[in-house]
Structures are given as C-alpha cells and as structure tokens.
Symmetry: C2
Subunit: 281 residues, 2 copies
C-alpha cells in the first residue's frame, strides 16, 4: 500500500497504473473510517483492480460555525484499516496541497443543492463539488463510490458528473447501520452514552415513516408523528429538518404516489446527525 501526500506523485502512479490496463476505483473520505467506508472499499475491490482512498477533511465544505476543527482525525488507525482491506493507494494531502493561496475556482450545483442539507448548510455542497471535482481530476477513477447515508451528496455528485462530462461512473452503496439501527457516521464519536441512546430516535422515526407510508398516510401526518417520536425519545435533541421528498428532484412531496425519500437531520447535543430511507408506497 502506497501513502502519498503529493498531487503530482499520485498522478504519476495513476498514469502508470492506467497504462498497464488497471481500472481505478476511488473512495473519497474525510477519514475516521467506519464500516460504512469499508463497505465502499469492499465493493471497489470487487469491481476494479486498483483501489484509491483519499483522506482529507475538506475545509471548504464546513460552515464557519461547524465542526471543521474538531472533526475526528486518526490517520494511524485509518491507515491500518485500509491496509487490512487491501487498498492500493492512500491519498492523504494537507490543506495547502489542495488549496493554494490563490485558489479561486469553485464548482457549484445550483438546483439539487437548494434542498435538505443544502438549505441548512449554505455553501456545503459547493465545497463538496469543488473538492470532489479536484479529486476526480487527480485520481481519474473509472468508478467512484459514495454512501447512501449522504443521499443528497450522492445525487449532486451524479449530477455534476453528468453536467461536467466526467468520464467515470458513480456507485452508491446502502447505509450501514449498527445492530440497533443507528446509521454509521464519523460524527457518532461525538455522542455521550446517553446521547447515543437518543440518537437511535432517527432510525426509529424512519421506521415509523416506513410503516405510515405503507399505511397510505401522507407527508404532513407522517412528519408530525416523526417529530413527536423524536421529541419523546430524544428530549434534548433539536430537529434541523425532516422532509419527505422526490428521490430525483429532492423537492417536497405533497401526496405520496410512488417512491419517496424520507430524510432528516437532528442535533443530538453538538452532533448534527443525518439519516434517510427510500420508501416505496
């Protein structure tokens, strides 16, 4: 396993690897790796012959009052995991290598970014699109892997790939959950043991939504019931949003007729947790 911090060196290796006929699988991450990331890596190992993982806590996707500074970083442990998974190359740049002093070019998706997390975190997806476009140009993957937990991110990246004609495929893998249902997230490390129990309310609310959609209930009723459940199970929580949206446009659905995405973001203490579920009527 190669570990590189330098863009040019990554490019050299990738050129070599591509010349010899390898296909490149790529998983961009912010480190603090968990089973969710590992599921992406395992899939990449199946589909491609050279697997690259980037670890970079990207400052441009954090708002000024968000958790950029305290976001968990543990390169030593991450490296151990990636070695065990048989990853071929870790790209682990520092901020200066990715953003020069004169950096002034951004990639922005302006339609799908208006909703859900995009509405609550202005500039977040602009930061995400910019860093992912950069990483795609450096790593030149044949397939890049994203998790469904960041559902909106995945559809925005897919949109960017189509719009800007990137020559690669995006593969989105299912949410990985703890046994009790909590969606894996690097931010779960922020939770105290009490908050950890409260955090389960996100999954419980989604399961409730699942039952209610199947029982032909409509969004206003479902959302109210979800809010009530969360307030009960996690009294100290703060609901950032709960939305029932079209899985393609991310716009609110008034009347459920086909498949919907139920998505929510909840503050449990200082941790802002997100989760979602695709539900077919």
């Amino acid at each position: 396993m190669i570990v590189l911090r330098n863009v040019k060196k990554v490019r050299e290796i990738i050129n070599k690897v591509k010349k010899r006929g390898d296909t490149v699988g790529f998983i961009p991450t912010m480190g603090a790796l968990h089973e969710g990331h590992i599921s992406l890596i395992k899939e990449a190992k199946k589909n491609t012959s050279f697997v690259v993982v980037s670890i970079f806590v990207n400052p441009t996707q954090f708002g000024p009052h968000e958790d950029y500074r305290k976001y968990p970083r543990n390169f030593k442990k991450d490296k151990e995991i990636l070695k065990q998974e048989g990853v071929d190359l870790i790209f682990y740049p520092n901020v200066k290598a990715m953003y020069s002093k004169k950096f002034s070019t951004y990639v922005e998706e302006i339609e799908l970014s208006k909703y859900l997390c995009g509405k609550r975190r202005p500039g977040h997806f602009k930061g995400v699109c910019t860093i992912v476009a950069k990483l795609f140009n450096i790593v030149l993957p044949d397939i890049a892997y994203f998790g469904q937990k960041d559902y909106q991110q995945a559809v925005i990246i897919k949109r960017m790939v189509k719009d800007l004609n990137f020559s690669l495929k995006i593969k989105v893998m299912p949410i990985v959950r703890e046994k009790d249902g909590l969606a894996l997230s690097s931010r779960n490390t922020y939770l105290t043991s009490h908050q950890r129990k409260e955090a389960l309310s996100l999954y419980h609310a989604l399961k409730l939504a699942y039952r209610m959609v199947k029982n032909k209930k409509q969004p206003p009723t479902i959302i109210k019931a979800m809010q009530k459940l969360i307030k009960k199970e996690a009294p100290s929580s703060k609901i950032d949003y709960i939305n029932i949206v079209d899985p393609f446009t991310l716009q609110d659905v008034r009347k459920i007729e086909k498949r919907v995405l139920v998505a929510l973001a909840i503050y449990i203490g200082k941790a802002r947790l997100i989760d979602n579920m695709l539900i077919k009527r």
Copy 2:
C-alpha cells in the same frame, strides 16, 4: 478528418487515440474561424499528434442582451479551413448535447473574473469556465491552446486548470493582427467599412500606450491620452473600459514599475471589440 456531434463518440475516439500513444492537442472555438484560430491549430500540429477543434457557440457565456443569436456561424467554411490545416477531429455539438434540461452545475473563478471584461459582462467567465471544463473532460487534451487576444480568459482558464487539478497544459499564443494592426476577431465581421476604419483606433491607442509607458508616463495620463485618441479616430465609438493592470492579478496598476497589461474594450457600432498589449517598462 472526423466530424462528430456526439459526446460519447468523441470519448471513444479519444480513448482509442490515447491508447495508441497519441498526444491530444485541443483548440476550443466558437467557429467563424480566422488566422488567430489557425495560429493555434498550427502550434497544436507542431506539439501534439492528434489535434481536436471544437466549434460551439456557447450560450451560457453570453449575457441576455449580448450577441448570442447573431454571432457569426459558418460551419461549411470552418470545416474547409480545418481540413486544410490537417485537423484530426472536429467536435461540433449542438446546445442540447452540451446542456441537458436538468443542467445545473457551473464552474466559476471568482477572483480574476472581477476585473476587465468580467466586470462588464457578469456571468461571462462562469459560462466560459463551465464550457471549457466540460470540453476538457470530453476531449482530455494534453495541451489546450488559447489566444492572447482573450488575455483575461487565458489567465482564468490557467487558474481553473491549477485549482481543479486538470491534467493538461495551457499554451497561450500571440494576438494575430491584420496588416494595419486590427486584432483578428470573429466579431470584426459585424463592422461596416467605415467602422472598420474606426476599429483601428484600438490598436493605435495601444501603440500610444506603448510609447507612453516607455516614456515613463503613468496610468492616469496614459489612459486619458488613449481615450482622447479613440474619441478622435472613432467619434461614434463607446469606450467600455481602458485599464492598465498587473498581468497576473489583473488589478489596476497605480504606478508602472514592471510589466503591465494594457487592455481595452470599445463598442464600434454594435460590435464590442477587445484588444490588449503586454508592455514592459
């Protein structure tokens, strides 16, 4: 010479060509080709083994009251020229092929775009960066060629290539002028024979600036003299801007100490003409 209108087919050819070891030279154009474009093609023919020219009048780089509709289009003549120059592939997409209905991703440079033409044509360079990023991802050139006549465009594209880690080189070629000094431009076709004479005032103003810089005059004096010359030689003209700027930052220079860029945009009738000159003190 191959002519393709379809993105996927271009990609297929480029992949084939790269596999056999060719290097790709690329000249993005809006057609209405002239000796300026041809100088870029000739350079590409020297440096690379497979030369691609795109012809696409890009709607997103025109403002709502600009000349998108009447911009000169003459594919038949352009094709003849490109054949004679030994171009290997023309990419000639239509608007739908480049901008799907759901298109919503843009590339924007936000620092260098604040000045000169960027100030006068809001959104112009966002349109340019977006289409050029798309074309780079489709054509995957080793070297892309731009003309110095669009000086600001060239430095912004260079910035974008660095910032977004495109794996290619940008080569900027000198302005090609008519015998009397008028910079070649597709928009020169808009000029009546009277306006054609008035249009020469741009070059004369730049030559005046050249002499004045060499004579240690400073920007306010030089710009006033240029304005006076233009008003005299082209009484019906309208000055859009005349600036003396740092060639790297594009910011106004107060006191000339090293090399400067003198840049101007002038309306001659309905034609907005631009020209520039790099002048060393």
